[in-house]
């Protein structure tokens, strides 16, 4: 430990030269501000925090960390929900909040170049006068940063139609773990952008992001449909997608989630609803008008349908949905936000099973989710003051993931793996699959210093050459051939 302390002290000295003394934090009280991201039940006070102002400084910081063999972790706004930006006490936390310049807006070619600390919503605000916006809209878009969005490949309610961050990033300037400043893009050669976006900060640090701008739609229509049961709401979702309509968003909330939202933001959703759907269509007026009529018809089982007459009413409808996570705090002292994916067609079955599990265990589960693409966000409620409650909630939360995997789904839809779900990776991937991913990690980061401990359950010793296990051809095994 003394060795670690000495190395961190030497490193802090260097970082003061690189980034300026005022941008290096070593005071224990100040460091504690950074002890977790949105996954609050994992905490670690970082060894040193540094706030660089550009790619050159980050490259220098990375090289300094490498020289001292000190791990480093990048952090944007710290809103991630899987602990991707969880610091290390023996490491450096590189915070990008000073890098929030919008460097270029090119409306004609529909792109903008921004620094990683730029807030998601600020991109849309900046390009709105030109008739554009930035499409990916995580619920945290008012505070989350583009760099964090890139690391986590963030989604949002409108990703059903518009895709995730990876579909809206055209190029990145990154600092690699070797301390090089490199441009990656959807250009000839390997498209490293696809692997980098969503690599949760383990392949380097984005220092400049070129994002695709999306034209503001000519028309937007939003409705709230209230159903007596979650089954009938689910049937409406299937009917809408089955009819070939691709809404900008279809969001579902169950009774408990509605209750929470109501308590928190008074969104005035219809009373007595077993489930509500928020359906939004956007696009050319004539198409939206036509399809919106279709959607209303397909929601025929709803006992009430409200159509937003203007932007204010639209905002009111969305307020309930967008505040749902935070709102749950009103009805439960503690909760776990789960994030899993199932094929959309398995929705009714999985929801019924969750309901059953909740009944059996006595653990309340509020369901809020992107119904269109089968991305569930069950909120598992508990009271940490009750002995064993946290464990029971964890268990139910884990069983929900089991359900997702059983149904051919995924352990995460948009919150990432981070530290939270690394242990579940072997349930989705073979050892060979994981080795192949880690091969890339080792290529980028042979010293294992770039956000270690995230994504993969077993860090690979990068000296080992993976995939060299001896395999025997079936013909050889059966004695029919002598191959080698």
């Amino acid at each position: 430990m003394g060795d670690v302390t000495a190395r961190l002290e030497r490193l802090a000295e260097r970082l003061r030269v690189v980034a300026g003394a005022e941008n290096v934090i070593t005071d224990p009280a100040e460091l504690r501000t950074y002890e977790c991201d949105g996954l609050t039940y994992h905490r670690a006070t970082p060894g040193v925090v540094v706030l660089p102002d550009g790619a050159e400084q980050i490259a220098e910081i990375v090289r300094a960390c490498t020289a001292e063999k000190v791990p480093y972790i990048a952090r944007g706004s710290g809103t991630g929900l899987s602990g991707g930006a969880l610091p290390r006490t023996d490491g450096v936390l590189i915070v990008t909040s000073r890098m929030r310049r919008i460097l270029e807006i090119d409306i004609e070619d529909e792109r903008a170049v921004v620094e990683p600390g730029v807030i998601n919503l600020d991109v849309s605000k900046a390009v709105r006068p030109g008739g554009y916006y930035y499409a990916p809209d995580p619920s945290s878009q008012q505070i989350c940063s583009i760099g964090g969005n890139v690391a986590e490949n963030s989604g949002g309610a409108h990703c059903l139609k518009y895709g995730f961050t990876v579909n809206h990033v055209l190029a990145c300037e990154i600092v690699t773990p070797s301390g090089e400043i490199v441009d990656i893009s959807e250009a000839p050669g390997y498209d490293l952008l696809g692997a980098f976006v969503g690599s949760e900060g383990t392949l380097g640090i984005a220092t400049k992001v070129t994002v695709r701008l999306t034209r503001l739609p000519e028309a937007v229509e939003t409705l709230l449909a209230a159903f007596t049961s979650i089954e009938s709401a689910g049937e409406a979702v299937s009917a809408i997608i089955g009819a070939g309509v691709v809404p900008a968003a279809i969001e579902m909330m169950d009774a408990l989630a509605i209750e929470a939202a109501e308590a928190a933001v008074h969104c005035e959703y219809p009373e007595g609803a077993g489930a509500v759907l928020v359906v939004e269509l956007d696009g050319p007026s004539i198409e939206v008008e036509h399809q919106f009529a279709q959607v209303k018809e397909l929601c025929g089982q709803a006992f009430e349908i409200r159509v937003a007459a203007d932007d204010a009413e639209r905002a009111l409808i969305w307020r309930g949905r967008k505040s749902a996570f935070a709102a749950v705090g009103r009805i439960s002292p503690d909760y776990i936000v789960q994030d899993g994916v199932i094929p959309r067609t398995a929705l009714p079955e999985v929801l019924a099973r969750i309901d059953e599990m909740s009944g059996d265990s006595g653990v309340r589960v509020a369901n809020v989710f992107h119904a269109g693409d089968g991305n569930l966000h069950p909120l598992v409620l508990f009271d940490d003051a009750v002995p064993g409650a946290g464990e029971r909630a964890e268990e139910v939360s884990g069983k929900i993931l089991d359900l997702c995997i059983e149904h051919g789904g995924s352990i995460t839809g948009e919150h990432g793996v981070g530290v939270d779900k690394a242990k579940h990776m072997p349930r989705m991937f073979t050892e060979e699959d994981l080795d192949t991913m880690q091969m890339v990690r080792c290529a980028f980061d042979p010293d294992g210093l770039c956000n270690p401990g995230k994504i993969y359950p077993t860090p690979r010793l990068c000296g080992e050459v993976p995939g060299r296990r001896t395999k025997v051809h079936p013909l050889v095994e059966s004695g029919k051939a002598d191959l080698f």
Copy 2:
């Protein structure tokens, strides 16, 4: 050479055991069939050809090649235009044409699982009864294979609206250069799919491809608009895109390309056209109807507009465009197909410059291109019987790429880098950028046996650790700090 011959002979023996003697070709005359792909001016007779029937056999072949240190190259239908499947005389060519089973069609979840040798158009044919098709449509779609499409990230006329192969592949089973069978997908962890699709066969061999199925549009409308000049056609393209219409396709052909198509397939395009546009819209009827009226209006400068009344007329309009490359053979004994990208907004300027270059050099250039996304396919005509003509054509073709790069575009839009354009890579990328890509290549293929010589101008010796060059911080350089 004697050593190579011996190794190839030993290897052929093994491959006969693995894949069956009838599926291993060593006869020189038969081998010559495989000496090139669609880039016909690079040729090499493969050392051995093997036609495996599945992933296990391919894994075995790759391991056998690795044991003998013999390079190997995968090939689908061999329609690629950049020499990505160019064989090596000292290597093995792994041909996937026996692997053409459609393994699974899942209409409900909108996906199909196919073997790499399946012909692109056969996927659409198989799912059409369910109301679906496979969207990426390279001109060669009647013969090209899905495996080749994955390797080259193939595009096509309709990629403007629907995206490239990478946007339609959901998962791949691949054999890595270490001989492992691995699944990669858009799942948690690294999205290696993005890097693999378009890696031109250098990161492994796809053995199973899960593709996204696209719902057949409710309505399709196609028009042919004839303009007196290429400038006025270009203005119409800008006006259409500027109006926020996203056509399924906007294709442009200039006078020389029209002349060639006319000579070959009698497509009866309007006489005297300086340029034609083929514009296709698809989607919900009501949207298509409305936007089609808009497009007709925006093509107001055309001296003739023909609307396809039915599928037969639509096919006639497309016949001219789709046969344009081959048709050029009717008006010129030899030609080079160039493939470059420019920002759409630079179209008029670049086309004028090409015209100028053609005039100055006396080398005829026929322009056929995906106007909507700035992907140019100039056909540079020459007669190889005329001394120096080939060189002059090469020069003009190279200068067209210069123009693309000057305008912030790319050296390839959809034909890939292959052997053809490897030398141009350093013009788009820094040494650090290329090193970072090759880091991934070395991680996958430390022995450098998987399709070597493609994409990168300088093969990296995989022992070298890239990116460890000493960099000096500006403050140190200026004497203001003593950093290390």
